[in-house]
Symmetry: C2
Subunit: 280 residues, 2 copies
């Protein structure tokens, strides 16, 4: 956008290094109080050399949001899964917490790993990461609150949102085609709904400090009962606890989905995992 | 909280007037840039007389959030409806946009009503009110982003959130008892889910300028298919368009809810109303 992300600076500082410094400065100072000096302090560059790339804090932040878009879309751009329902739940989990979900997925796929990406941070490696993630979400919410004032911020936020909605829409469309998602589901409406839930979780994390993943169970119930096609052989309980999949297979059967306790039972029985994996 | 909301000041300014001035100053200046002088400028009081009540901007804002809680809970504290499902949808509509929903509901039920005693009260029409509502939501999102820094703000935000969740929980519990909501629905999970959606809609309104009510259809589908009890004679399409209720009766029947197009058809056919009434 500014050209800064694809060229090295004459003074030897790389735009990548500036982006890292911006991230750290945002975590430490938040958006409103952030100065170019704060960002310089987080790098080994002078404020003058920052100004070599960016005239204003706003311009630097725009480049940062651009950089963030690339990192985010790289992180969650492809979603593996047995079927569209699996991919949808995995995608939402990762969007809600890209870094930690990645950690968790890695821990889950390596049997020797004992850590699971929890928030409490008693492990040596991820307590700091979690704090940093919360701090960054806080700065991001401040930037969202600038939406009505800084049109260019809003455009970057819309870009991320469009990416999330496109991915959901495309996964849902695939699911309809493969027969795992009901043919009467509207991919656009579903995408808007999921994007709104994600924004809600992220806002609550900052505003209320809510990181208990309490929404995940209900999201899974929504997927199970609103999206899964009758008769589809899919498990709506994924991402980090594959060993339990056999118990969770709902079949999406019409009568099962509405008149027995198993469906909710399986959602409720899932508390431990949801609390661990939802959005904290 | 500060005692300011229930006593008149020695200089004749009423706390109520200060709250009104705070509301207007927040709409105009946002939270981050707000000064005591800005608030004084919106009232006919001096900055010194504001300080008679409140030592700091933060203290004043806390009293304002307290005042807001009272106004909000007065506005949406009771929800009429034929049954719990009706009340739930009506409650969510009003929480998403208390002022405008009230306008719309009153306009719908009393063709002669043109004014509604809303907070701002200076305009007979609602174009200005809508702008003001957006501005206020922006300031509120800034305050939410202060959650990690100002514990007392977070406590006030939690109070509002607890109220919303309590109401949803209680309506859902009533619905289970009266048989309109499935007995396997968890009132707590539902409350958390609804509160998260509400936060998402409010964040998107500010960050992205999204006011198209696009989530409402999918919320109604969620209510219809996840919450409504099999065989319950309720209409999941309410609030402002009662004339159409007969068309919307889903019966909550198991096969109807999962294998025909009528359910989605009725949700989709509702675009005009949802766009008008959802959250813009």
């Amino acid at each position: 956008m500014t050209g800064a992300t694809d060229s090295a600076a004459a003074d030897g500082s790389t735009p990548e290094a500036i982006m890292g410094a911006t991230y750290r400065a945002l975590c430490e100072h938040g958006y409103a109080d952030l100065t170019m000096q704060d960002i310089a302090d987080e790098s080994d560059k002078s404020k003058a050399s920052l100004h070599y790339h960016f005239d204003t804090k706003e311009e630097l932040l725009l480049a940062f949001l651009d950089h963030l878009y690339d990192a985010f879309t790289d992180d969650v751009g492809t979603t593996d899964g047995d079927d569209a329902v699996d991919r949808l739940v995995t995608f939402v989990d990762r969007v809600l917490c890209p870094a930690e979900r990645t950690d968790e997925a890695r821990a889950g796929s390596r049997p020797d790993a004992t850590s699971d990406g929890e928030t409490d941070g008693d492990e040596p490696n991820d307590g700091g990461e979690t704090d940093e993630f919360e701090e960054f979400q806080t700065a991001l919410l401040e930037i969202k609150a600038q939406g009505p004032y800084v049109e260019a911020y809003r455009e970057q936020l819309e870009r991320v949102d469009a990416f999330v909605r496109d991915r959901v829409r495309s996964i849902v469309a695939d699911g309809i085609e493969e027969g795992t998602i009901r043919s009467d589901v509207d991919p656009d409406d579903t995408a808007a709904f999921v994007a709104t839930l994600v924004d809600g979780v992220n806002t609550r994390r900052v505003a209320l400090g809510e990181t208990d993943g309490s929404v995940r169970n209900t999201f899974l119930a929504y997927v199970r009962e609103n999206l899964v096609a009758p008769g589809a052989d899919v498990a709506v309980d994924l991402g980090g606890d594959p060993g339990n999949d056999a118990d969770r297979d709902t079949d999406g059967d019409a009568t099962e989905a509405t008149d027995d306790d198993d469906v909710t039972g399986s959602a409720d029985g899932d508390d431990g995992r949801a609390a661990a994996g939802g959005d904290d």
